[in-house]
């Protein structure tokens, strides 16, 4: 099962490699990992998308908690949460296709950030599924380049990850 795990850790050199090293050393999957400092610059917030049996996910959260630099861990997928990913995609946009691509971008609530004679660069935010369906809708032939951030997640309502 796919899980989205959020964690707060000390914003120190090497902290990221401790997490990444843990996943590779123990053979856990990482689908994506995002990290950036929080409003408190001494802390970093990380979102990890992973998958595994319940037993493996339990070990992953325990092992993460065991890292001395990790302040707190939450498996967002255990409750209500919001998940967003940002994608930048550069498309071949020529002739009649230009209008159609613009229309698709609007439907998916994306924004065109850069336009040339031959290309559009589009920004799109949403769940992984939404970004995937955009790519399917456009068709891979027109795609020149994509960059995705991986998911960032946050709990709904009172589910708050803090010190």
């Amino acid at each position: 099962m796919r899980h989205i795990i959020s964690l707060l850790m000390e914003n120190e050199a090497g902290a990221l490699s401790r997490v990444a090293g843990l996943f590779s050393a123990r053979g856990y999957n990482i689908e994506s990992l995002t990290v950036a400092p929080t409003e408190d610059a001494s802390l970093s917030r990380m979102t990890i998308v992973t998958s595994g049996s319940d037993a493996i996910i339990e070990q992953i959260t325990k092992q993460l908690n065991k890292l001395v630099d990790v302040v707190s861990v939450m498996d967002l997928s255990e409750g209500e949460h919001i998940e967003r990913e940002l994608m930048l995609v550069k498309l071949r946009a020529e002739g009649d296709a230009r209008d159609e691509l613009k229309r698709m971008t609007d439907i998916f609530r994306g924004r065109i950030l850069d336009v040339t004679d031959h290309t559009y660069t589009i920004e799109l935010t949403g769940s992984r599924v939404k970004l995937d369906s955009f790519i399917d809708a456009i068709g891979r032939d027109l795609i020149l380049e994509t960059v995705r951030t991986g998911a960032s997640g946050i709990g709904r309502g009172n589910r708050i990850l803090s010190l």
């Binding site: 339990e58 908690n65 065991k66 001395v68």
Partner: protein
């Protein structure tokens, strides 16, 4: 007063009450060695290889309840130390390793003797630090000691660049540590403890499985009280030996791959199992699926949540320090009016006695022609009254030492269980002997293992360490040979130790006494002689039966009841 980073480093060790610093100098730690030279509170022990420095610090820690401390230089000094660090990590030994690093301005430039110490050691330390500012040295070392010994213990590395050890600042040793991201659990959850008590009282076929955590937490007395109060059988893991007295009738012996038949069968067929500071290692329960075939309720007490439910499903998890948890469990049990069912208990014990009969306990066929390794250990046990500190290397001799030296007290059996590091025994014995001058320290080793750190005989000479080395010389990497005999059609690929040195001469060359023993009748006199030489290191080269195998044996990947009892069966 302003002090250099090097002076501060040594002052911190003094503040922590460090008696011995095991180390080896080099460019990146020259300032620290200079500061060491100008004081006499911390005694430095100059080993002959950095791996040995770490094992010695480790032996010191295992035989006491203190943190072992080692000091190595950058680059090769650090890489040599890694095996020792990983050994301590796997067995949860409290240790602080200080390493020199190239100056901060040279880091990342492939400088002379530069390695990424923090990167290389990351997977085998509890935590590590690179100190970039002299102002951080004191607080970092304070944290390192606290992390090493609190919670689940482990090694902590502090990497100090050369320029940082030369810079100056005011010395202030923090009185307390607070790490906001680190809060090891102390007491266990009371409700879970009550639930555990209830399960234990209702058990029909209970089993107590106690591991290294008992030794680490200093909870041997509580464990003994628990076992006696309940009247249950108790087994120890290889790491837990001495946690429960081996001479007690409720003790069923070590369990696992080379455990007794009765311990493994009780483990397999119990209906309530309580795991106390033990981590269901693959050498202990063998095949997980086979183990899970028998339904049983499992109570697991451990300070590290990640040890719980890692390999087997657990019904009552209790996270906390064993000493505190067992104290509470004992008081719940004592205040309960219910007692374990006497009828069920006596039926269970007759079953266990029956297994004891089938397994025949531990046994071997002694000989008057050729020295049986088990006989050497039994004789050592007899002559030391079971009270020696015994360190060991890795292989068959380790298993025989574990099986035939009956440990009645914790911290007397010093071995590398988790990593299984050949070369551990002699340097570990140095740390033990330094901590316990005047006590008998025996190092049980093999002709293969001893050669992995034999240079330490020189360190032993320098510091007058009268260790008794018992080398069970079977001419083979015996444990490898045994597996090749059982599982690889007797193809003894590279397991014969050709061109062995004359160990008596080697011992003598290092300034010690060497004795070669070929006949069974000479075993006892040799050990008596060695023990009587209170001030000398004596190296005993026992020529043992090269074909002897370790039994019982649960072959790798098999279930606990699929045990091979002996060659004759």
């Amino acid at each position: 007063m302003e002090m250099t980073g090097a002076e501060i480093t040594i002052r911190c060790l003094q503040e922590e009450g460090v008696e011995f610093l095991f180390g080896y100098p080099g460019g990146a730690v020259l300032h620290i060695y200079d500061a060491l030279f100008q004081q006499d509170k911390v005694k430095h022990i100059l080993v002959r290889h950095e791996q040995a420095a770490v094992h010695a610090a480790d032996g010191y820690a295992r035989s006491s309840d203190k943190v072992g401390v080692a000091l190595v230089t950058s680059g090769p000094g650090l890489t040599n130390a890694v095996t020792g660090i990983a050994t301590a990590y796997m067995d949860s030994i409290p240790m602080v390793v200080i390493s020199g690093q190239v100056p901060t301005y040279a880091i990342g430039e492939d400088a002379f003797q530069e390695v990424d110490a923090v990167g290389i050691t990351r997977p085998c330390v509890k935590h590590n630090f690179l100190v970039k500012d002299v102002k951080d040295i004191a607080s970092t070392i304070k944290k390192a000691f606290y992390l090493a010994k609190s919670g689940r213990p482990g090694p902590v590395l502090v990497d100090i660049p050369k320029d940082v050890s030369a810079h100056k600042t005011e010395f202030v040793y923090p009185a307390t540590v607070n790490i906001r991201s680190y809060h090891p659990q102390g007491r266990g959850d009371s409700q879970q403890i009550r639930q555990a008590a209830q399960l234990l009282l209702e058990a029909k076929r209970p089993m107590i499985y106690a591991g290294g955590g008992v030794v680490l937490s200093g909870a041997a007395a509580q464990l003994t009280d628990l076992v006696r109060l309940l009247g249950f059988p108790c087994t120890n893991t290889l790491m837990g030996l001495g946690g429960y007295p081996a001479n007690d009738k409720q003790y069923v012996g070590m369990l696992g791959m080379h455990g007794t038949y009765e311990a493994n069968m009780s483990m397999q067929h119990c209906d309530v199992l309580v795991a106390i500071g033990a981590r269901f290692d693959d050498r202990v329960i063998g095949n997980v699926e086979h183990f899970a075939q028998v339904p049983r309720k499992i109570i697991h007490i451990d300070i590290d949540p990640s040890s719980i439910a890692k390999r087997v499903k657990v019904d009552v998890p209790i996270v906390g320090d064993l000493k505190l948890v067992l104290d509470e469990l004992l008081s719940v049990l004592r205040s309960s009016r219910q007692k374990p069912d006497a009828g069920e208990m006596s039926a269970w014990w007759s079953q266990i006695e029956e297994w004891r009969g089938i397994g025949g306990g531990l046994h071997y066929r002694n000989s008057t022609e050729i020295i049986k390794p088990q006989f050497v250990i039994e004789t050592l046990h007899k002559l030391t009254g079971g009270d020696a500190f015994v360190t060991s290397d890795v292989g068959q001799h380790q298993m025989w030492a574990a099986q035939y030296y009956k440990f009645n007290h914790p911290r007397r059996w010093i071995n590398s269980g988790g990593l299984g590091t050949m070369g551990f025994g002699l340097p570990a014995a140095m740390g033990v002997q330094l901590k316990h001058p005047g006590e008998t320290v025996a190092c049980v080793t093999g002709e293969g293992s001893i050669q992995m750190n034999i240079q330490e005989l020189s360190t032993c000479k320098q510091y007058h360490l009268p260790i008794k080395v018992l080398s069970l010389n079977n001419g083979y990497l015996g444990m490898v040979r045994q597996w090749q005999e059982f599982f690889h059609g007797n193809r003894f690929s590279e397991s014969y130790m050709d061109a062995l040195p004359d160990f008596v001469k080697v011992a003598e060359a290092y300034g010690h006494i060497g004795i070669r023993i070929d006949k069974p009748c000479d075993v006892e006199p040799a050990i008596i002689e060695a023990l009587s030489r209170k001030n000398d290191l004596v190296f005993m080269d026992f020529r043992t039966d090269p074909t002897e195998n370790v039994f019982p044996m649960v072959p790798g990947g098999k279930g606990l009841s699929e045990v091979v009892l002996s060659e004759d069966l």
